[in-house]
């Protein structure tokens, strides 16, 4: 068991996500930075579906009531064990009675704490991920509170991982204040006028203070839509369309005033024009960004996006091999 002494700002149990229910309105939830989350699991010998803790800006203070192996990845942060600094992106041994405490994030937003065996909450619809809006999954469907007690799963076939095993610098996430974020064209991209199509991929956009697991609002130059008679069933605003499904990572611009990027807890469909979609590997990067950092969008083909996703998978397999080889 692990007792939550302080929960941090917004700490939830997450795994890879809840898949198969998108069509009936359930977003996938799951770790916002999937890469960091996967690396944390690898570092403690967990399978890729194990549940981890996701923190936001300020992580929790946790008291361990049993020995455990843990690993922390993601944002740059000071983490201490009984007051002594411990390294990130490294497999760390925790003894019964020790207290693990997070400082505030120095760069980036989210940390992933994997515990050998994984966090044992009841799977809901095939996943342990917390979907706070529906009070579903995770720890009682909510963010952690003081006094919560987290159970660790007993690992049936543990992979041995040497304590102190660390991920090389070039395979870690490095948060930056400006990032190139790659997008593929959206179904309704043609509704932007030509100047706005150009603006979307040439001007920077600033992450606003409204940015969470549901969506990121981004401020930038106003976008305008082609003039047309709104079709039957669509709202009256030029940014409205007849309801359609939204991809995760969809970029929309209600009334053209600001961009909204839908994240992993977002609504799965609605009546705003889907202008573009942030590619899955760059959602990891965006998830580590905050106000007032900036992004520039770069348009890539679907083939490139899929290749980059496949490259991320290969990079994770290489990391798993590396970690296992030094066990």
């Amino acid at each position: 068991m692990i007792t939550v002494i302080q929960p941090g700002l917004y700490t939830t149990v997450q795994d890879r996500g809840r898949f198969g229910f998108y069509g009936v309105g359930f977003p996938p939830s799951g770790s916002m930075d999937q890469y960091s989350s996967a690396v944390a699991n690898i570092l403690v010998g967990n399978n890729p579906d194990a549940a981890v803790l996701e923190t936001t800006f300020l992580g929790p203070t946790l008291e361990f009531e049993q020995d455990a192996n843990v690993a922390l990845t993601g944002a740059s942060v000071d983490m201490t064990l009984d007051g002594i600094s411990i390294p990130l992106w490294t497999s760390v041994s925790v003894k019964k009675g020790q207290v693990l405490a997070f400082g505030g994030a120095i760069a980036g937003v989210r940390n992933y704490l994997a515990i050998r065996g994984g966090i044992n909450v009841k799977p809901m619809m095939g996943s342990r991920s917390t979907y706070v809006a529906s009070h579903l999954g995770g720890y009682e469907g909510r963010v952690l509170k003081p006094g919560d007690r987290l159970e660790i799963l007993q690992d049936s076939e543990p992979k041995e991982v040497r304590v102190g095993c660390e991920i090389p610098e070039d395979l870690r996430v490095t948060p930056r204040a400006h990032q190139e974020i790659r997008i593929v064209s959206g179904l309704c991209h043609y509704l932007l006028d030509p100047q706005s199509q150009e603006l979307l991929v040439s001007k920077p956009f600033t992450i606003s203070t409204e940015a969470n697991r549901t969506g990121y609002r981004l401020k930038g130059d106003q976008l305008s839509f082609v003039e047309r008679r709104q079709p039957f069933g669509a709202g009256s605003d030029p940014s409205n369309v007849v309801n359609l499904g939204y991809p995760v990572g969809s970029l929309q611009a209600p009334s053209g005033l600001e961009l909204i990027c839908l994240m992993r807890d977002a609504v799965t469909g609605g009546g705003y024009a889907t202008l573009a979609t942030v590619i899955s590997v760059d959602l990891d990067i965006l998830s580590q960004m905050k106000f007032p950092e900036t992004v520039s969008f770069e348009s890539v083909s679907l083939e490139t996006a899929l290749q980059l996703r496949s490259d991320r998978g290969q990079r994770l397999r290489n990391i798993a091999e590396l970690v296992n080889s030094i066990a």
């Binding site: 700002l9 800006f57 300020l58 505030g104 994030a105 203070t209 905050k290 106000f291 007032p292």
Partner: protein, 83 residues
């Protein structure tokens, strides 16, 4: 003798000096504060979080206006501490 230290924003958000628009500021300029006193609220991810002082002393300056968007690590207030 005194030394001036800054209270820094623990996370990005919107800075508020009052718990609601009609009430008095949580802390006034020139007020003596202790470690742990709530000096402001920051709205982040649709939640309000108290900013507690990490310093004991006298508030000599607020570095941001009520309602301003603040970045993580930005100075919020200057506190004069007695040496």
């Amino acid at each position: 003798m005194s030394d001036t230290q800054e209270i820094l924003a623990p996370f990005p958000g919107i800075f508020y000096r009052r718990t609601d628009p009609g009430s008095d500021p949580l802390v006034e300029l020139g007020q003596e504060i202790a470690v742990g006193d709530v000096i402001a609220l920051v709205e982040v991810m649709k939640m309000f979080h108290e900013v507690q002082s990490t310093i004991a002393g006298t508030v000599v300056e607020f570095c941001v206006e009520d309602g301003d968007a603040i970045a993580m690590g930005q100075a919020l207030a200057k506190i004069a501490t007695k040496l």
